[in-house]
Symmetry: C2
Subunit: 618 residues, 2 copies
């Protein structure tokens, strides 16, 4: 305990000095959890090789309360993970010690800072350990304020459902939120009751008593045989702590959230820590050395459809998952309890160990997928496109992890029909386009959907596949190639009066419009823009130049989707771009009725082309 006291004082020293040097940050939220983390790291529990942060059997620590970054960095500095002098660069431009932990820092599991997301990531990592038969443990530090986020309870449920006894969560109940006391204040029993009701093994501790903390960690880590009653349960430590702990004028005081000490205040504070040797470091317990399994890579089988047969792209996505498994043996498929609609269910039946049922909890699904990715998996996540908006903030954070995750949104657009507006994905392309370095593909037939699913599986970043409910005819040969960033010019002549750019369901409307116009002797170009991001600017530019006007057609709101992608890409070149998109409150009805109602049907395209011709003539 003496050692822990000494190290905790040192950690507090670094917290205070680094945040004062930065001039901003959250020292008080760091101080409350300093004893908990000192005990975890240096009490002989946490196993980690600081020279190999990505070693596959290292324990994992996720700082869900990412604003406690001064503590996070101090911990790793004391564990000799990086030079202590770097602590003084905290929050400065160019430093890898950013305001909230990011991937620049080698010990960050995933970037945090949007509260309530870390536990889902922990669930993903614990699931990966179970799947791969690795004994490492995953620890998640949560703040008490963030427990108000529903995503935490989705993760609680998921951990309990999957019996993740290799997952340990710690709630730092320091009572004070940003602007006021939390819902439960210091009522640690309230947290304990909730966690127990969600199926966790809960221990309430004094978060500043090394004796109680170390006993709780020991209990959490004892082999399952020792405690049959808790076997198969994740562990929660509910720790009563004080914000600002260790410094008399900060401890348990309101109005110190997110504030750093001025130089004179720091000078007043540091002596309260007693003698501190800032040169001290302390080694972490070593991980157990276990050989990593390597799965053999194989080729995926060929795609096999018949031109003209009607297959929904969502079905093709499901087929692709099974087909490409040999190529991506680390695939993990997650679905939000609609796998018989998204068609992830084929994979589920064929590869049950690599399918993870996330139930109707999309935020947790995204977080778990992120955790799985970080432990070496290639996650494919599916639900209705509309409901992926539920996980927008988790997807936003995943972009900062540089994660490779593949999202598939089914039931895109008004063409789903009778189910009505609530089930229609109408701003999903906008959401995924707005993610840095993302890829957005929108196939219109089974062949392109299979090829694109295969392509994004081997790509990088956040990838999005938009699929359609209705069956659409296969229009491509099985050996057709679909490079990301490409497009297919399906109809073309030397005297085209306009270019129709479409994807998914509207491509078929565009092809129908082409036939109608052809009979009127009005040739138009038709482009399948299956890659909405990145965009085939070269082809679009040429089409705009050669045909004078580009008309985009999409089963999506007018903002942020295919139309604006094309308009903004061509905007520097003074091209003429018009957009047909969903602009009226959608309703129930037959798919064809709704495409007509929204002005994105073949008839609407024909009408628009005729108007363009009229305009050109006058």
């Amino acid at each position: 305990m003496l050692k822990l006291n000494r190290l905790a004082a040192l950690i507090r020293h670094h917290i205070l000095t680094s945040s004062t040097a930065a001039g901003s940050g959250h020292p008080t939220s760091s101080l409350s959890a300093a004893d908990l983390m000192a005990a975890l790291f240096f009490g002989g529990f946490f196993r980690f090789d600081v020279k190999r942060p990505q070693y596959h059997n290292n324990d994992r620590l996720i700082f869900s309360k990412g604003h406690a970054s001064p503590l996070f960095y101090a911990l790793w500095a004391v564990a000799d993970g990086f030079p202590k002098k770097e602590l003084n660069t905290f929050r400065k431009f160019g430093s890898r010690l950013e305001g909230h932990p990011t991937m620049d820092f080698p010990f960050t599991e995933v970037p945090t800072g949007s509260l309530g997301q870390g536990l889902s990531v922990g669930v993903g990592m614990a699931l990966a350990a179970k799947r791969d038969g690795l004994p490492f443990k995953t620890y998640v530090l949560l703040g008490d304020s963030e427990v108000a986020e529903g995503s935490v309870w989705e993760a609680m449920q998921s951990a309990s459902f999957y019996r993740l006894d290799n997952l340990v969560a710690i709630i730092d109940v320091n009572r004070l939120g940003q602007s006021r006391e939390t819902v439960h204040g210091h009522d640690v029993r309230a947290y304990a009751r909730k966690a127990a009701a969600f199926g966790w093994d809960v221990t309430v501790v004094d978060g500043h008593s090394f004796k109680e903390i170390t006993q709780a960690f020991k209990k959490a880590l004892r082999p399952a045989a020792d405690g049959a009653s808790t076997k198969g349960k994740p562990t929660m430590l509910v720790a009563k702590t004080f914000k600002g702990r260790g410094i008399s004028f900060l401890e348990n005081k309101p109005d110190w959230h997110g504030k750093t000490l001025k130089a004179d205040e720091l000078a007043q504070a540091l002596p309260e820590l007693g003698e501190v040797d800032t040169s001290v470091t302390e080694a972490l317990k070593r991980p157990r050395l276990i050989a990593a399994k390597k799965d053999a890579l194989h080729k995926a089988a060929a795609v096999s459809y018949t031109k003209g047969e009607k297959v929904a792209t969502r079905k093709a996505y499901g087929n692709a998952l099974m087909r490409i498994r040999p190529k991506y043996p680390h695939m993990a498929v997650l679905d939000a309890e609609v796998s018989n609609s998204t068609y992830a269910d084929g994979f589920k039946k064929k590869f049950p160990k690599d399918f993870f049922e996330m139930f109707i909890a999309e935020q947790n699904m995204a977080g778990v997928g992120l955790g799985l990715w970080r432990r070496g998996k290639v996650p494919f996540l599916s639900t209705f496109a509309a409901f992926l908006t539920r996980a927008h903030d988790q997807i936003r954070m995943a972009q900062y992890a540089g994660a490779h995750m593949i999202f598939c949104g089914s039931h895109a657009g008004v063409s789903i029909g009778e189910d009505g507006a609530s089930q229609m994905g109408l701003d999903d392309m906008a959401m995924f386009r707005g993610i840095l370095a993302s890829t957005v593909v929108y196939p219109s037939d089974a062949v392109s959907c299979e090829k694109l699913t295969e392509a994004v599986g081997g790509h990088e970043g956040i990838c999005y596949i938009r699929t359609t409910r209705q069956a659409t005819p296969v229009i491509y040969d099985n050996d057709e190639q679909f490079p990301l960033g490409g497009s297919k010019t399906l109809r073309k002549s030397a005297r085209d009066v306009a270019t129709i750019v479409a994807a998914g369901i509207t491509l078929h409307e565009a092809l129908e419009a082409y036939e109608v116009l052809k009979k009127e002797n009005i040739p138009v170009r038709v482009i399948d823009l299956y890659s909405v991001k990145p965009l085939d600017i070269k082809t679009l530019k040429r089409a705009a130049k050669e045909t004078g006007v580009v008309i985009t057609v999409e089963d999506h709101h007018a903002e942020g989707g295919l139309g604006e992608a094309v308009a903004s890409a061509l905007a520097p070149y003074a091209a003429t771009v018009e957009s047909l998109a969903v602009r009226k409150m959608p309703r129930s009805g037959k798919p064809a009725e709704l495409l007509e109602y929204e002005g994105i049907s073949s008839a609407a395209i024909v009408k628009r082309v005729l108007q363009v011709c009229e305009h050109k003539r006058t």
Copy 2:
């Protein structure tokens, strides 16, 4: 009980016949809850004047499990709310009986169909009743699958915190989800434990026993004096039910989710209900008649800033809330526990009864706001712009309610500085632009922020105010007007070589760039595009024509924001538009460093303009 049995059979008859006529829908999920709802409506509990659906003291019923719409419509038909023959139009194009309940149907409180959202709306309505001293009750019917959504637990927490003993939730535990059994199956005690841990008064009932159901409703509605122990607690009925109840070949059978009966199956099913008189209707209990209070409307005070003084727009938003309260006496201000950052805290102190602390639970905040709006309030909801993405799906559903809600996202863009990427709102404009009939304003100084906040308070639809962390100089006179859909051309000459379009923080960068370029004798036009949606197309078109090129500058990702709004609006006119936006992984640093790093600083603007001049010359 005989009457209830008879009416429940009638309701089941309508469920089966209307869904078979539609050829799609969810009869089995409707049948499980039929007895619960029959008891609520016709057991003498639910008070409602069907001739005046919006009567302010009617009880409220929210069908959170919106897919059970056949039950919903059947209930109101039997309650004589509308002609029964209309049931046959279910799910047909043009019918007001859409696949999931929408506002076309007069008894829909809010559209549902995205699961897990109804309870938050119920919390909002129950809060409105408390605030206005009205005795009506709010009922929410939930499915068991949707209880996996974290948003449900945010709402559970919120209802308990606000001691909403006028709120009754009913979970229809029919065991079967869409593709599989739910997490808890028929373990009703598991739901009860969770709800009790979240502070609710819970009763477990057999959902097909009218005796148990009516006893539970009686208990829930008894005056508080009768049961001191449950006073101040919301009530939860956990009802064990069977999916498909009442029809032998449907009851408790998997693989019947979302499937309707064929004609022959219907013919086989209906006799199982016994004799049914389809002409029967049954009156609901009348609401208590209570005079509605009317608040006097007053003018808001004048705005008063000094040109040049530095005031953050987030501060001006907070000032505006207090200033406009006399004009909008039904205002309700909600914040996700960051009111000292968004500056909603001034209003909180001045009008505590109209401030609702939502803690860090943004989904619930949006749902509660929707419920408050539906009961006559004008809700203003604030948190960091980045964290509003957490409520994307709730905002998406609110658009279908036609709700007037004002969201304020503070801490927009990389200009927040040291806190880093996780705290930066960078796709918020895209999200709100993608909402049908939404309004997006992005003020650059205190005067415009105050005026725009006042304007959207009296507007309609989903409105979004984007505010900046940093203090920026006041650039407008106090009597300047800011019509929605307008813009301000701040710099202009007859020989402008380009137009810089900016808003918020980048407007100040643009003004600086103007000064630098002026010294080089390069005149540029500068437009403050404070109204990002609707857009001042006329001014933009003229500027594009007169200056040849439009350069947009925004502290937001390149997709879906100000740049694409301008590009797509000008696309039909073959204008040249270039975009400066956030395209690199953001990091911690000083605001100025980050604007520079992302290429949206005054220097970056100057550079771009010089390139444009170069290009024009060559």
